[in-house]
């Protein structure tokens, strides 16, 4: 049997993470002599996918909360546990990887009780690798998780908790029937999308799709309607029958909103339409992905793409490059700013380029997050220093156990997406864990900072920054860019400016020497190969005016250490 059956994407297997939820139905012969039908959903754990996870949880009666016996409770554990509690699920704590020498089951039990307020006496200790504890887990699921309730005689309500795209069949929705029954050929209504459509096929997943005639209250399965547009099949939406309509949709639906935006540009301008096709294809399985064309003076035609978060962004970029053989240049990520103009309008902008002239701006608001950080007590000072430096506002602090402190902060999202997590990890020697959720929009004094290369502003290098940080960030970025941009035939001045005010200036000196001095019989081939390699390296750079700029220059702002 293949390992990691459900984490089927290359990226999932390589990174050991789950990006896309998976659902499966299995039958289990329990010790009490009864056969139980399990409908299992494997969900991502990362904060970027919180909404997806919450909809999967809404489809369930119980949750197995997996805690690593060598790591203990992490911020992500708390976030997902509270999602499960809010959904009124029966939670079975599971302590995994107990085959490892560093496993500390007692400590982890204590953390579960103190940190999550979940009784841990009956936590199941498991090694998924060796199989120890797995029979106990299956028994615990039978005994402790209630069978689904629901009334098959009521009007149909079914929750879409996930969807994927099948090239031949169109969008396949994964659904949990809450009340009523669903049959092949029924005309259904998707309530939030307000779409009426006929059911082509229903079935169950074990894990291959297996058609059935009926799905009834309590059951989980798939639904094919022939719809080709994934944006119509919304995760969280409620399905009911067009003719015998439920009076109310199921609670909890919301539109998925991207939080982080970046410009994606093909290095080779000819790949623009390939990039568009690739995004269209990825979107079929990832409706949270949104994009619109963006035109940059410096980088040409590309797309401004919105993501759920940084991990989502990384995964999408990697998939575009790997699965579609594209060479992409990404600009530094941005957030959605709300700009209130002197004319009384509110503009949502996702790119520094769209920032209006300062004279037209009355005030700017930016998204803040509620961040939860778990750390050993020794690192409280380090987290304080980092977070205050990133304009964080301290909220609360509490000891979850003698070894674990939970801190809560309000932090601007724009600061968090600047290597905050990397910094947090490095300043706490890897002990910190972080989780966050959107909090609110707050007014900030923000400016657009421009970078000029050889006297010309480069739109793709502009960024939005808090007034108090403009000088520091401008200065460090100018220094950083000087390191990144190689010496060229001519001197290249680098300037950081707000409007017409120059905040910082550095200079990339002109090239003086680049010559292969020794070039005799046997050297000629080798040296020509070297020139070819140099040339290939240049191709990976972007020509902006007469300046060759390496790709990492566009991400340099993220690496501006303070």
């Amino acid at each position: 049997m293949v390992d990691q059956v459900l984490d089927s994407m290359d990226i999932e297997r390589e990174r050991g993470i789950t990006i896309k939820s998976q659902a499966v139905r299995v039958l289990y012969d329990a010790r009490d002599g009864l056969t139980y039908e399990f409908n299992l959903i494997d969900t991502p754990g990362h904060v970027d996918f919180t909404y997806e996870v919450s909809r999967s949880l809404a489809a369930c009666e119980g949750a197995v909360l997996v805690v690593d016996s060598t790591q203990g409770v992490e911020a992500q554990t708390i976030a997902n546990a509270s999602l499960a509690m809010n959904a009124n699920l029966e939670i079975i704590p599971l302590i995994n990887k107990i085959d490892l020498p560093a496993a500390d089951v007692d400590r982890v039990k204590a953390e579960i009780e103190e940190g999550l307020a979940i009784p841990a006496d009956d936590a199941v200790a498991v090694s998924a690798k060796t199989g120890i504890g797995v029979p106990e887990l299956l028994e615990a699921i039978c005994q402790r998780i209630p069978a689904p309730t629901g009334d098959r005689l009521k009007p149909l309500t079914a929750l879409i908790f996930d969807s994927y795209f099948d090239t031949y069949r169109g969008v396949v929705a994964l659904v949990r029937i809450v009340d009523g029954t669903l049959h092949k050929g029924d005309e259904i209504l998707m309530m939030a999308a307000d779409v009426r459509v006929q059911v082509e096929e229903i079935g169950i997943r074990r894990p291959m799709n297996t058609p059935v005639d009926e799905l009834a209250a309590g059951e989980v399965g798939y639904l094919i309607t022939g719809l080709k547009d994934p944006s119509l099949v919304k995760v969280g939406d409620t399905i009911t029958l067009a003719k015998n309509c439920a009076s109310e949709p199921l609670p909890g639906y919301r539109e998925v909103k991207p939080m982080v935006f970046t410009g994606l540009f093909p290095l080779d301008g000819d790949q623009y339409s390939d990039l568009r096709d690739a995004l269209d294809k990825l979107r079929l399985n990832d409706p949270a992905l949104i994009y619109e064309p963006e035109n940059s003076h410096a980088l040409g035609f590309g797309f401004r793409v919105g993501f759920l978060g940084l991990l989502h962004m990384e995964v999408v970029k990697e998939r575009l490059e790997r699965e579609f053989s594209l060479d992409l240049l990404a600009t530094a990520p941005s957030v959605e700013y709300h700009i209130y103009t002197t004319k009384g309008e509110m503009l949502s902008i996702h790119s520094p380029q769209d920032m209006p002239d300062p004279s037209a701006i009355e005030r700017i608001e930016e998204p803040y997050l509620k961040a939860t950080i778990l750390i050993p007590p020794d690192y409280v000072g380090a987290v304080m220093e980092l977070s205050v430096g990133r304009r964080g506002i301290f909220d609360t602090m509490q000891y979850l156990s003698a070894n674990t402190v939970e801190m809560k902060w309000a932090i601007p999202l724009s600061e968090l997406i600047m290597d905050y997590f990397d910094q947090l990890k490095s300043r706490t020697r890897g002990y910190a864990s972080l989780d966050y959720e959107f909090s609110d929009y707050r007014e900030s004094e923000l400016l657009k900072l421009d970078i000029l290369l050889a006297g010309k502003p480069v739109d793709a290098l502009s960024f939005i920054v808090h007034k108090d940080k403009a000088y520091d960030r401008g200065n460090t970025l100018a220094i950083k860019l000087k390191e990144i941009i190689p010496r060229q035939l001519f001197e290249v001045p680098i300037q950081a400016a707000v409007g017409s005010r120059i905040l910082a200036r550095t200079t990339v000196k002109a090239r003086r020497k680049d010559v292969l001095a020794k070039c005799y019989g046997g050297d000629i081939t080798r040296k020509r190969k070297l020139l070819e390699k140099q040339k290939a390296g240049k191709k990976r750079m972007k020509n902006i005016g007469s300046v060759e700029v390496p790709q990492e220059a566009f991400m340099a702002i993220l690496k501006v250490d303070e």
């Binding site: 035939l489 000196k509 090239r511 020497k513 680049d514 010559v515 020794k518 005799y520």
Partner: protein, 369 residues
């Protein structure tokens, strides 16, 4: 193709042995004991190859011979004499045949020079690198400045055509110490001086230690190369190639063969050869073809190599090149506009800045291939 034109005119013999490896070296050579039987076995093999080439008629048009390494002088008088003797019986060796042997100062002996000279060797190329002892230590060279001077004198007693290699950009080197090295070199009255900026190659001890110590940066190396051109030219060493300076009448004919598309034969491990095809050329290594260049590529290679030399690429050569590669005209003009090339009466050649930025020029030209 004219069969005679495709006759080898230059012969290279490789000696892949050294007493020890220098810190910057990534050449094909290995450190070995001087009395190792491997050396004479290798020379036997070379002699066999020379005989084979001779029987095949491949040596009948040879004008220059170059024994390089490694360290040819390291294998000693006896083995070198065997090799030179084999050559003298396998081909016509006369006073017009330029016959160079590379040597290191620590393995030059009067008797060796005497015997080789009498067998037709008429040029010695000495790996001096620096006349500053600290810099020689930094490079991991086995000789001192005094030994280098002594070796030059020993050779000069027999043979006036001595060339030395010098390096700039050595760790610890300053513009002052470089100037002293150049002055010392000029005072030895050698006929030919090659000047190389030290390049740090991967997989060398120097590469590893460079991360710990400071290496002369691009600007200092540029200043040093300019200083070399200035002092050597003033002392009547005329630059005829990027790295090569010679007194009147002492340019290295063998190296010029490499830069002018002349077919050359390589004998020995890792020795490269080149011969023309009807529609291009091929390069050989260890007797095997390692690459084939089509006509267009061959022409571009010729243009690139011609630009290494002071005379540059002539209008007549360009005229022919443009018929195969029309885009080249535009590239040449743009390089000229960028100040990397300059015009002479009937050619384009590297400008003062272009001498130091040759790679940018060559890369542009080769990118048309």
């Amino acid at each position: 193709m004219n069969a005679l034109l495709n006759k080898y005119q230059a012969l290279y013999l490789h000696i892949p042995f050294c007493a020890s490896r220098c810190n910057y070296c990534n050449f094909f050579t290995k450190a070995i004991a001087a009395d190792s039987s491997e050396i004479s076995e290798y020379v036997d093999k070379l002699i066999l190859e020379i005989r084979k080439a001779s029987r095949a008629g491949e040596l009948s048009n040879i004008r220059t011979i170059y024994i390089g390494g490694g360290t040819p002088s390291f294998i000693g008088q006896r083995e070198l004499v065997r090799l030179a003797y084999a050559l003298s019986t396998a081909m016509i060796l006369n006073a017009n045949t330029e016959f160079t042997v590379e040597a290191n100062p620590d393995s030059v002996q009067a008797a060796m020079i005497r015997d080789l000279y009498s067998l037709g060797v008429n040029r010695f190329s000495l790996g001096v690198q620096s006349f500053n002892n600290n810099e020689l230590v930094a490079l991991g060279r086995r000789h001192s400045s005094a030994q280098a001077k002594a070796a030059i004198e020993v050779i000069q007693e027999r043979c006036e055509n001595v060339s030395i290699d010098l390096m700039c950009g050595i760790p610890l080197q300053t513009i002052n110490s470089w100037q002293q090295t150049l002055t010392t070199a000029i005072n030895t009255e050698v006929k030919h001086i090659s000047v190389y900026p030290l390049s740090i190659e991967e997989n060398t001890p120097l590469y590893e230690s460079i991360r710990l110590h400071d290496i002369a940066d691009e600007d200092i190396q540029a200043d040093m190369m300019l200083k070399a051109a200035e002092l050597l030219t003033a002392a009547a060493y005329n630059r005829y190639e990027i790295a090569s300076f010679a007194k009147q009448g002492f340019k290295c004919k063998h190296n010029i063969a490499y830069w002018t598309g002349v077919p050359y034969l390589g004998i020995g491990t890792a020795a490269a050869g080149m011969r023309h095809l009807t529609d291009g050329r091929e390069r050989l290594l260890d007797g095997k073809v390692i690459e084939t260049l089509n006509k267009k590529e061959s022409i571009l290679e010729d243009v690139m190599l011609a630009l290494r030399m002071t005379n540059g690429v002539s209008d007549s050569m360009l005229k022919l090149a443009y018929t195969y590669i029309p885009k080249l005209a535009q590239t040449i003009t743009s390089l000229y506009d960028q100040g990397l090339l300059r015009r002479t009466a009937d050619a384009y050649c590297l400008s003062k800045r272009g001498w130091l930025l040759g790679n940018l020029v060559f890369a542009e030209i080769w990118s048309l291939a």
